[in-house]
C-alpha cells in the first residue's frame, strides 16, 4: 500500500523549499517538475483505485489529546478534484513564463495554495479541513495583495474580510459539531454516522453557519460581492487558481455538508431556490460587464450556482454530476482567464468594447476564449456537457420539472456571449494593433487547459468508472 497523499504533500512541500532556495533561476523548472510529479502519482492512483491496491485511508497521529490525527482519505471525488487542481495550477504556473517578474514568490504562493488544495480535498476530519482552508485563503490573499493590478487595495481587503467572516462561521460550526456529537469528534465519517443524534434546531444552525461560509467561497448570490474585484484585480495566474480551485473549496465543503447532516433533506428546496436565483442573477450581471475578467467572474458564478443545484438534489447523479462540474468548470474557467490574460498582454486592455477585431493578430488567445465560452455553456465534447447532463438528470428527479429551470440561465448567457464575442473579439471588420506578442509559455498554458477541457469531455469514463455510474 503506497501512501500517495503523504508523498504528494511532501513533494509539494519540498518543492516550496527548493523554490525559496534555488528559485532565483530555476523557479519555473522546480514548480513544473513538482506538479508533474504529483500528477503522475495521481494518474497512478486512478489506475490503482479500481484494482484496489491503494491505501484509501492514510493516518498519522497529530494531536492525541483531542483525538485529532493527520487523517486523509482518497475517494474518487478527492482524486478528481486533486487532479483538477494540479492541472489548473500547472497551467497557472506555465502561463508566467521563465522570464516573468516575481516568479519565485508567485510560484511559492501557488505551490502553497496547491498544497492546501490537496490537503483540503482529501482531509478526513474537519480540523484538517479548516487548517487547509485557511492556508489556501491566506496564500491567495498574498497573491492578490502582492502581485495584483493597480486597484488591488480594495480587492484584497474585500477578499480578506469575506474570507475571515467565512472562516469564523466555519470554526463556529465545527466547534458546535464537536460539542454536540456524543463523543466530541472532528472525524467526518464519524460525524456522518452520528449526526442524527444532534438536536434538529442545532443541526439547522450548524447548516446555516456552514452554508454561508461555503456560499461565500463558491461564490453564490447574495454572498458574492468580493468576487468581481478579486477576480479582476488578481494577477492572471492568481485569477486562474481563485476561480478554478479556490471556489471549489466552497463547493466541496458544500458537498461534504449536505451529506454530513440529515437536516439537509428538509432544507434542500431552499438551497435549490438560492441556486436558481444565483444562476439568473449572475447571467444578467454578466451581460452588463465591459471588463472581460469581471464577465468571466460572473460566468463562473453561474456554474457555481449549477454546482449548488446539483448538490442540493441530494441524489447520486446530482452528487457526481456536481463533482464532474467542479472539474469541468475548473478547466474552462482556467482557460477563460488564461485567454483573457493573454489578450490583455497582447493589447493592453480587457475591455470588450475596445477589443474589437482582436482575432486579427492574437489568434490563439481569441480562439481559446471562444472555446472557453463553448465549454462553459456545456457544448458536447467538452467536459461541461457530461457534467450538466448528469446534474440536470439529478435535479429533475429531485425537484421535478423545476429542475430544468437553471438551464435557461445557461442558454441565455451562452447566446449573449456568442453574440458579444463574435461582435467584438471575433469581428473581422476591424483590426487591432498589438502591444505585446503572446509568448510560447502563454500558448503552452492555453494548450494545457484546452487539452484538459477536451480530454475530460471525450473520456469521461476515466473518472466515472471509479464511481461505477
Amino acid at each position: 500500500m503506497i501512501q500517495i497523499l503523504f508523498i504528494s504533500l511532501i513533494t509539494i512541500a519540498i518543492a516550496i523549499a527548493a523554490n525559496i532556495i534555488f528559485g532565483r533561476k530555476y523557479s519555473q523548472h522546480i514548480s513544473i517538475a513538482a506538479v508533474l510529479l504529483v500528477l503522475i502519482y495521481m494518474s497512478y492512483s486512478i489506475s490503482a483505485f479500481t484494482s484496489g491496491s491503494l491505501a484509501v485511508s492514510e493516518s498519522l497521529p497529530y494531536i492525541s489529546s483531542l483525538g485529532i490525527s493527520l487523517h486523509f482519505t482518497l475517494t474518487p471525488i478527492s482524486i478528481m478534484l486533486i487532479t483538477m487542481s494540479l492541472i489548473v495550477t500547472l497551467a497557472a504556473i506555465v502561463w508566467q513564463g521563465i522570464r516573468g517578474a516575481n516568479t519565485r514568490s508567485i510560484n511559492s504562493l501557488l505551490l502553497l495554495f496547491l498544497l492546501s488544495a490537496i490537503g483540503l480535498f482529501a482531509s478526513a476530519n474537519l480540523f484538517l479541513f479548516y487548517i487547509f482552508w485557511d492556508v489556501g485563503v491566506i496564500s491567495v490573499f498574498f497573491i492578490i495583495r502582492s502581485f495584483g493590478s493597480a486597484s488591488r487595495d480594495v480587492a484584497s481587503k474585500n477578499f480578506l474580510i469575506y474570507s475571515i467572516f467565512a472562516s469564523a462561521l466555519l470554526l463556529f460550526a465545527i466547534m458546535l459539531i464537536y460539542f454536540y456529537t456524543p463523543v466530541g469528534s472532528f472525524n467526518i465519517s464519524y460525524i456522518t454516522a452520528h449526526s442524527y443524534e444532534i438536536p434538529i434546531d442545532i443541526q439547522e444552525s450548524i447548516f446555516m453557519l456552514m452554508f454561508i461560509a461555503f456560499a461565500i467561497k463558491m461564490p453564490v448570490f447574495p454572498f458574492h460581492s468580493w468576487m468581481p474585484n478579486a477576480y479582476s484585480d488578481a494577477p492572471t495566474s492568481g485569477s486562474v487558481v481563485i476561480a478554478g480551485v479556490l471556489s471549489k473549496f466552497g463547493a466541496y465543503g458544500m458537498l461534504v455538508l449536505f451529506y454530513l447532516l440529515p437536516v439537509a433533506e428538509t432544507l434542500k428546496t431552499y438551497v435549490y431556490a438560492i441556486a436558481v436565483v444565483s444562476v439568473f442573477y449572475s447571467a444578467f450581471a454578466a451581460m452588463r460587464q465591459n471588463d472581460l475578467k469581471k464577465m468571466a467572474g460572473y460566468t463562473s458564478m453561474i456554474e457555481s450556482g449549477i454546482i449548488l443545484a446539483g448538490i442540493a438534489s441530494l441524489n447520486y447523479l446530482g452528487e457526481y454530476g456536481s463533482v464532474y462540474m467542479m472539474l469541468a468548470h475548473g478547466f474552462t474557467i482556467a482557460l477563460m482567464f488564461i485567454a483573457i490574460g493573454s489578450l490583455e498582454f497582447a493589447y493592453g486592455t480587457r475591455s470588450i468594447s475596445i477589443l474589437k477585431g482582436a482575432v486579427s493578430s492574437a489568434k490563439s488567445a481569441s480562439y481559446s476564449f471562444m472555446l472557453a465560452i463553448f465549454g462553459s455553456t456545456g457544448m458536447p465534447l467538452t467536459a461541461g456537457f457530461i457534467a450538466e447532463l448528469m446534474i440536470f438528470i439529478g435535479t429533475v428527479s429531485a425537484f421535478g420539472l423545476y429542475g430544468i429551470v437553471p438551464l435557461a440561465g445557461i442558454i441565455l448567457l451562452g447566446a449573449y456571449m456568442y453574440l458579444a464575442a463574435s461582435r467584438s473579439i471575433m469581428s473581422t471588420k476591424e483590426k487591432l494593433s498589438e502591444v505585446g506578442i503572446i509568448g510560447k509559455s502563454q500558448k503552452a498554458a492555453m494548450a494545457i487547459a484546452i487539452a484538459a477541457v477536451l480530454f475530460f469531455g471525450v473520456f469521461p469514463f476515466i473518472f466515472l468508472n471509479m464511481v461505477k455510474i
Binding site: S65, I131, R145, F172, M175
Partner: protein
C-alpha cells in the same frame, strides 16, 4: 539523598552564578564577557531544568523551593526567553553592563517564581522580577523615566495588594505554604476571608498580568519603554504573573474552583474585548501590540476558566506560544523604531525596505491572529476546545469572535507593509535577525507539529493539579 536532587542543587548553583556574573558586570565592563557568561549560564539552566522535567521527579529543596514538572517547564522556557531578550538588548542604547546587572537579578526572580513553594517565596521572587525591570527601562535615557515610574507605581500597588491577600490567608495557612486551603472535599464554611484573600491575589496578579480592569498602565509603559523591554514585559513578566496566578488558584485554592471559574470567565471576556477593540484604533504599531498582548492574556484565561487538565494544558501552550510571538514581533519593532519607523502609515512599503523582516512580521502577526498552520492557531484551538469540553460554549464563542475581530488590526499592519511603495532598503543587525528567526522557527515548526509542546504542557498541567 537521591542523585536527582544534586541536579536541583546544581540549578541553584547556576542561579547563584548568574547573580555573581551580574554583580561583576559593572566592574569589569566587558560587554562580550557578560553576554557570553549570561548565555552559557542560561543555557545550562535550561538543560538542567529540562533534565529535571524529563525525570518527572517531584521534591522540595531547602523547604522553600519545589522541583516538579510544572516549575521545571517554566524555568526552562523562561531561561530560553531571557536569552532571547538578552540578545535583543545587546545593542540597546543604554549601557549593557548596568543592564546585565539588573537583568541577572530580574532573571533570578523570574526563574524562582514557578519554583517557589511558599507565599513568602512567591512574593519575594515576584518583587525581584519586577523591581529591576523598572530600572532596566530607566537606564536607557531620560525619556524613558516616565514609563519606568509608571511601572514602579503599578508594581508597588500590585505587591501591596498581594501582601494584604497573604495576611488574610494567614489564618488558614499558618506556614504560608502553597498547600491546599480547606479540605479536599470542600471549602471552609463561612470562609469569607479566604475568598477575599483569593480575590486579592487574583487582583494583585492581574495588575502584573494586565487583565481587564487593571490594564490601563500597559499601553503607556510598553510604548514608553524601549522595545526590548516591552518584549521582556509582555513576553516574560506577564507570564510570570500568570504562572503565579495558576499556582495560587489551582494549587492553593483548588476547592474554590467553582468561585474563581466565574471570576476568570468575566476577566477573560472583558480582557479580550478591551484589548481587541482598543487595538483597532491604534496608529502606533507598538501600542497596537501592547493592546494585542492584553487580549492574548484574555485568551489564556479561557483555559483558566475551563479549570481542567485540558484547560491548563492549553493555557500553558498558549503562554509559551505568545511569548515567542511577542518577543519576535517586538524584535522587528525595535529595529524599525531605531530607524524612526513607528506608525502604521510609516510601515507602508516595508516589503521593499526589507523583505525578510516584513515576511517575518506578517507570519508572527498571522500567528497571533490565529491563522493555521502557525502555532498561535493551535494554542487558540486547544483553548476553545477546552472551554467546550468544560461546557463553556458561550465563552468559547466569544473567544472565537474575538479571535476573528483581531484579524482586522493585524491585517491592517500586514496590508500596510505590502503597499506598493518603493522605499530604500535597510539592513537589520544580525542579533535581531537571529532572535526573529528563532521565534519564527518555533512558531512554524511547532505550529505544524504541536504534539511535543502539547505533551510537555500536559505533563506540567497534571503535575500542578496533582493528578
Amino acid at each position: 539523598m537521591a542523585s536527582i536532587e544534586y541536579f536541583g542543587y546544581a540549578l541553584f548553583a547556576l542561579l547563584a552564578l548568574l547573580a555573581l556574573a551580574a554583580m561583576a558586570a559593572p566592574f569589569h565592563r566587558r560587554k562580550k564577557v557578560s553576554f557570553v557568561l549570561g548565555a552559557v549560564i542560561l543555557a545550562a539552566i535550561t538543560l538542567t531544568a529540562s533534565y529535571l522535567f524529563a525525570s518527572g521527579s517531584s521534591f522540595y529543596l531547602l523547604n522553600i523551593f519545589r522541583i516538579y514538572p510544572f516549575s521545571m517547564l517554566f524555568v526552562g522556557v523562561f531561561s530560553i526567553l531571557l536569552l532571547l531578550v538578552m540578545a535583543l538588548s545587546y545593542d540597546a542604547p543604554g549601557s549593557f553592563d548596568s543592564f546585565f546587572m539588573l537583568f541577572g537579578f530580574a532573571a533570578l526572580g523570574i526563574v524562582m517564581v514557578p519554583m517557589a513553594s511558599s507565599l513568602i517565596g512567591l512574593l519575594l521572587s515576584l518583587e525581584l522580577a519586577s523591581i529591576p525591570t523598572v530600572f532596566m527601562i530607566a537606564i536607557n535615557g531620560k525619556k524613558f523615566i516616565e514609563s519606568s515610574v509608571k511601572l514602579l507605581i503599578m508594581s508597588g500597588i500590585a505587591i501591596s495588594i498581594l501582601v494584604f491577600g497573604m495576611a488574610l490567608a494567614f489564618p488558614y495557612d499558618a506556614q504560608l505554604s502553597l498547600v491546599q486551603i480547606g479540605s479536599a472535599s470542600g471549602p471552609i464554611e463561612g470562609s469569607y476571608l479566604a475568598l477575599l484573600a483569593l480575590v486579592l491575589f487574583i487582583g494583585g496578579l492581574s495588575i502584573e498580568a494586565a487583565l481587564f480592569p487593571f490594564n490601563l498602565w500597559v499601553p503607556d509603559v510598553y510604548e514608553g519603554a524601549p522595545a526590548n523591554m516591552s518584549a521582556m514585559l509582555s513576553g516574560i513578566n506577564k507570564k510570570v504573573a500568570l504562572v503565579a496566578m495558576m499556582e495560587i488558584s489551582f494549587a492553593m485554592f483548588a476547592v474554590y474552583s467553582s468561585t474563581y471559574v466565574t471570576i476568570f470567565m468575566v476577566l477573560s471576556i472583558f480582557t479580550m474585548f478591551f484589548g481587541n477593540l482598543a487595538a483597532m484604533v491604534q496608529k502606533s504599531v507598538k501600542r497596537l501590540l501592547a493592546y494585542s498582548s492584553i487580549s492574548q492574556a484574555g485568551y489564556i484565561l479561557v483555559g483558566f476558566a475551563a479549570a481542567s487538565q485540558y484547560g491548563l494544558e492549553a493555557s500553558i501552550f498558549q503562554m509559551i506560544t505568545h511569548s515567542f510571538m511577542i518577543i519576535g514581533a517586538f524584535a522587528v519593532i525595535m529595529f524599525l523604531e531605531n530607524q524612526g519607523i513607528k506608525t502604521i502609515d510609516e510601515y507602508r512599503g516595508m516589503s521593499s525596505r526589507n523583505r525578510y523582516l516584513s515576511i517575518a512580521l506578517s507570519l508572527l502577526l498571522l500567528s497571533m491572529a490565529g491563522v493555521p498552520p502557525l502555532m498561535g492557531f493551535d494554542g487558540k484551538f486547544l483553548l476553545f476546545t477546552s472551554a467546550i469540553k468544560s461546557d463553556l460554549l458561550a465563552l468559547a464563542f466569544i473567544a472565537i469572535l474575538n479571535s476573528f475581530l483581531s484579524i482586522y488590526y493585524y491585517g491592517k499592519v500586514i496590508i500596510a507593509m505590502y503597499q506598493p511603495k518603493k522605499e530604500e532598503r535597510i539592513v537589520a543587525p544580525k542579533a535581531i535577525i537571529a532572535v526573529i528567526s528563532i521565534a519564527l522557527f518555533v512558531i512554524i515548526i511547532f505550529g505544524m507539529y504541536p504534539q511535543p509542546i502539547i505533551s510537555i504542557a500536559a505533563k506540567a498541567a497534571s503535575a500542578l493539579l496533582g493528578i
